[in-house]
Symmetry: C2
Amino acid sequence: MTFKKEQKSSKKTAQPRTQLYEEGAQRLKVQMAKIRHKIAVISGKGGVGKSTVTVNLAMAFATHGHVNSVGILDADITGPCIPKILGVKGQKLQGGPPGIFPATGPLGIRVVSMDFLLPSDESPVIWRGPLKMRAIQQFLSDIVWGELDFLFIDLPPGTGDEPLSVMQLLPEMDGVVIVTIPSEVSQIVVKKAVTFSRQLNIPVIGIIENMSGFVCPKCGERVDIFKAGGGEKISEDLAVPYLGKIPIDPEICRDSDKGLPFIIEHPNSAASEAFMHIVTQVEEFLKKKAKLEKMLQSGKGGGKK
Amino acid sequence: MTFKKEQKSSKKTAQPRTQLYEEGAQRLKVQMAKIRHKIAVISGKGGVGKSTVTVNLAMAFATHGHVNSVGILDADITGPCIPKILGVKGQKLQGGPPGIFPATGPLGIRVVSMDFLLPSDESPVIWRGPLKMRAIQQFLSDIVWGELDFLFIDLPPGTGDEPLSVMQLLPEMDGVVIVTIPSEVSQIVVKKAVTFSRQLNIPVIGIIENMSGFVCPKCGERVDIFKAGGGEKISEDLAVPYLGKIPIDPEICRDSDKGLPFIIEHPNSAASEAFMHIVTQVEEFLKKKAKLEKMLQSGKGGGKK
């Protein structure tokens, strides 16, 4: 995996490491300043549908007036899934004069994922933490993301290297959306994710309870396969907003495998309706935040006059 | 988190780091030599039921003539779930004259997990790779596991620090059991886990397809929520044994939340029957391996005479 080096740095051969580091940090700042909102999607436990939520969040915002202005960073270095779910698998990152460009998905969504850099599906990325950190930093600093309204970042489960790196590299992040399934086992791990975000001073936008109940398509019987109500319980216990629940729908898995976001493929399903309700709340959060920032700024401005 | 230091090393204050390292490696060798079989349970993607499989594998072997002779190492440092699923949550690791002892679960199963060392469920472990590696090494070398027939190691998803550390620390491992759900998204990531094990020369015992189909408890309709057949497909594609599939059963989630392994709680369910079939195959694998090793050893012995 190689990224374009800046002209300036390629001239000097024995450049001190700290200078290279500072240049990287500077590039990251310049690139990220062009992106208005950054939201990370995290979970404690894996397999709760985090990548599906990320892709559908991105699609929802793109359809709500942000075509060609949404990006997704797949920060799961060892298990990247976004390209498959968004239907852009097989694309490659293209290099041009200003640097490396993201792949482009439906509605002009720009995507960067380790998956684009691997020779085959079988290729594992057997990397320890420091290398993963470096890759994420390069994804943020050396990719020509361009001007975007939103960047959604899909983080691998846990509170290890990747989430920590992203939080530290993007302290200006708007907040995190936390995804869980209703089970108690998942709740325990999700609580850690909430504390993790708080300790790193990143606002928690709210919790989504995914895979919440299943309705038999034949007889209409509702079965709580992974129990129900866990997301709401955590939000109460830890005083974080509850964004809503998404029921289990076999179409979601089928759509993800086909690379078709389910809110576009099955807009009238109960799952899509639940999802769009969640999107509205994320939009509300951002509006409130913007209002607050404006007030603070005008307050500051007023003080200077 | 502190572990008992050896008497010898505590006397010297300025001991060189390499010597400490070698002592650790030596302790690990001594401890692990007392455990006959080591099997890791891995997956590419999270949330596929890896921890549930680990706990039930351990219980199955304990009931098959190995009471008080089975151990579980929960190597998921940032999202430990084993204590909850095995019903030993709230226990603490106890220290005694020879060192730190594992917690004890049903049928005398010995358990070590980061969960026992955390002050509360909300406490996240915000550690980068090197610290996680060190913790796993200490779990293997500084815990008094004692004589065991089996040690099952539950690894977090992916091919990063924890799986890599365990594979490198235990090259004598019997093999890995790989868990997947049927979806294509999961298949892609599981393929990486197979290649990962092969590159590290750890035998793949086989693949389990978990959450394979759901039967409505009211009308009997079968719904493939996460599709079906994915595990079998990977095993064919990559020429690794297929151990079988476990259907979705809401009781599994309920039992896990209650800390009751489902093969003990619901031994006559379709899921338990499917699981016991998988256990038989793991036992077969170990028998064949032992036979082969015996043949090789007697061959060697004969050559020396």
